[in-house]
Amino acid sequence: MKVVIKKGAITLLLCLLATLLLLPILISFTNSLMTEQEIGSNYDMIGEMTDAANDGEDAFVNLKLIPDWVSFEQYDKVLIETPTYLNLFWNSVYMVAFIIAGQVIVGALAAYAFAKLRFRGRDQMFFIYLITMLMPFQVTLVPNYIIADKLGLLNSAYAIILPGIFGAFGVFMLRQFMLSIPTAYVEAAHMDGAGHSRIFVQIILPLIKPALAALIVLLFVDYWNMVEQPLIFLDDDFRQPLSVYLSVIQQEARGVGFAASVFYMLPMVLLFLYAESYFIEGVQTSGIKG
C-alpha cells in the first residue's frame, strides 16, 4: 500500500511538471483554433508600451487555453487562402530532404573509413571533424559567404543544401555506431576475399539500419529548425524555409502565426512520436564517449 502511494505521488509530480513543460505546445495548438477577433481582443496589447487604448489603465494579455469558439479560420488562411505559406513549407521540405539524403550517404561512407580502416592521420582528422561539428555557425560566416559567392550559390537553395550535406554530424554519429560492430566481422569477410565496398554494402549497411533511421530523425529535427543560414544566404523571402519566415508571419498576424506555427511543428512532432525509439537511440549513440 505504501509502495502504491509513493509510486502515485511521484507519478503525479512528474505529470504536473510535464504539463507545465508541454503548455507552450498545448497553448499554441488551442490558440490556433481561435478566430482572428478573439486573438485580437486577447493579445493585441503585446508590444504596446502605453495602455492608452485602455484609458491609461493596465491592459494585460488574457492568456487563454480554451477558445470561446472553435474555428478553422486561421488554418484556412494558412493552407488555402495564402499559397505563399505552403510554398515556404515546401522550401523547408525539399531543402531538408536533400540535406538528409546527402548527409546520410556521404556520412556513412566516411564513417566506415574512420571506424574500420587504419590510415595515417585518422584520429587527427576525426578531431577536426568533431570541432567543426561543435562550432557555432557564425564562426565561419564570412569565408562561407565568400565561398558561396564564388561558387555562385548565393540566394539559391544550394547555399543551404550543399554545406548541409557535408555537415560532420552524420560522420560522427555513424562512426560511433560502427565502432560497436566487432572488427572481427570485417576481418572475417576480408579473409573470404570480400573487398571493402562489398563489406560496406553487405555487412555494415544492414547492421547500421537503426543508426541510419536515428540519424534521419536527428537531422530532420536539426535542419527543420534552421534559422541562421537561410537568413544570411537567401535574400528573397519566397525562397526562405518556413522556419525563418514564421517570425515574420507572427509579427504580421498573430492568429495566422499560431496556425502556421502549429502547422510547421506538426510533421516534426508526428515523426518524433512515430520514431521515438530511433530518436532516443540516436541521442544515446551520439552521446557515447568519442
Binding site: I25, R122, V227, S243, G290
Partner: protein, 291 residues
C-alpha cells in the same frame, strides 16, 4: 610492424575512396572557410591587405562590445548550464523510479527538443511581454510588473527557454546512464547499511560521471548557440544583458567588419578546442580510475 605498415598502406588506398566525397565537401564548406578566417584575422584588410600580426586581436580585446558579449556568454553559460543539468538529473532520477506511465512521461519531457524554436516564439512573447501573461499573474498577486525582455531579467527568460528546450536531451542521456548501473550495487550498499544520500553520491553519481562529461560538453555547446532563440525573441539588438558573442559576430558581419569577426571566431574556436580536449582528457583519466 611490417605487417602493420602493410595493412596501413592497403587501407590508406581504400580509405581515400570512402573519404573522398566527405573530405572534398567538408574542405570546401568548412575547413577552407575556417582557414581563410584564421588568415583574415591576421590581416588589416581582407582583400590584398598586409600581415599585421596580433593587431586585430588587441583591438578586439580592447573593444567594449566584444567584452560585453564575451561576459554575457560566460555569465549565461555558467548559470543556465548547471541549473539545466541539475534539473534534468533530478527528473531523470524520478523517471527512473517505479512509476506509472513511464514511457508517456519520458515522451512528454523529450518533446520540446523536437519542436522548432520559431514555432513557440509567440508563446514566449505572450508570456514575457510588458503586458504579457506573467506580468498579469504578478499583478493579480499584487506584485508590480517587470519588463522581462528589456532588463537584466532577459537573461533569466533566456535561461528558461534554454532549459525548456534542452532538458529532454539530458534526460535521455541520464536515463541511459542510470539504467546501465547494475541493481546489485545498490543492494550490496543497502546490506552494508548505506543511506539514500550515500548511495546517491557513492554509486549513482560516480557511475553517471562518464555521461555527465558528455552532458556538460553538449550543454556548454548548445548554450553557445542560444543565438537562434535570442534572435527570434528579441531581434538584432536585444537588451544588453543578452547580447552574446554570436550576436556580436552577426552584427560584425552585417557591418562588414571582417577583421573583428574573424578574430572573435578564432578566439571562440580556440576556447572550444581547449574545452573539448580538456573534457576528453578528464574523462579518460576518470574512466581509467574507475577500471
Amino acid at each position: 610492424m611490417a605487417m602493420f605498415l602493410k595493412i596501413m598502406r592497403r587501407h590508406s588506398v581504400v580509405a581515400v575512396g570512402f573519404l573522398a566525397p566527405s573530405v572534398i565537401g567538408f574542405s570546401i564548406f568548412y575547413l577552407i572557410p575556417f582557414a581563410m578566417g584564421v588568415h583574415y584575422s591576421f590581416m588589416n584588410r581582407s582583400n590584398g591587405g598586409s600581415f599585421v600580426g596580433l593587431t586585430n586581436y588587441k583591438e578586439l580585446l580592447a573593444s567594449d562590445s566584444f567584452l560585453k558579449a564575451a561576459k554575457n556568454t560566460f555569465l549565461f553559460t555558467s548559470v543556465s548550464v548547471p541549473i539545466t543539468i541539475a534539473l534534468s538529473l533530478l527528473l531523470a532520477l524520478l523517471l527512473n523510479q517505479s512509476i506509472y506511465f513511464r514511457n508517456w512521461l519520458r515522451t512528454a519531457y523529450v518533446l520540446p527538443l523536437v519542436v522548432p524554436v520559431a514555432s513557440v516564439v509567440l508563446i514566449w512573447q505572450l508570456l514575457f511581454d510588458w503586458n504579457g501573461a506573467v506580468n498579469s499573474w504578478l499583478h493579480e498577486l499584487g506584485v508590480s510588473r517587470m519588463d522581462w525582455m528589456k532588463s537584466e531579467w532577459a537573461r533569466g527568460v533566456l535561461s528558461v527557454v534554454y532549459a525548456w528546450k534542452n532538458i529532454g536531451y539530458n534526460i535521455i542521456l541520464f536515463l541511459a546512464g542510470l539504467q546501465s548501473i547494475p541493481k546489485d550495487y545498490y543492494e550490496t550498499a543497502e546490506l552494508e547499511g548505506a543511506g539514500a544520500i550515500r548511495k546517491f553520491t557513492r554509486i549513482t553519481l560516480v557511475y553517471l560521471t562518464p555521461k555527465m562529461f558528455f552532458v556538460v560538453l553538449m550543454g556548454l555547446i548548445s548554450s553557445f548557440r542560444i543565438f537562434r532563440e535570442t534572435y527570434l525573441i528579441a531581434g538584432d539588438y536585444p537588451h544588453d544583458s543578452i547580447y552574446m558573442l554570436q550576436h556580436y559576430m552577426n552584427n560584425m558581419f552585417l557591418s562588414l567588419d571582417i577583421q573583428r569577426l574573424t578574430s572573435a571566431a578564432v578566439i571562440m574556436v580556440v576556447c572550444l578546442i581547449v574545452l573539448v580536449t580538456g573534457m576528453f582528457t578528464l574523462e579518460r583519466r576518470f574512466t581509467s580510475d574507475l577500471d
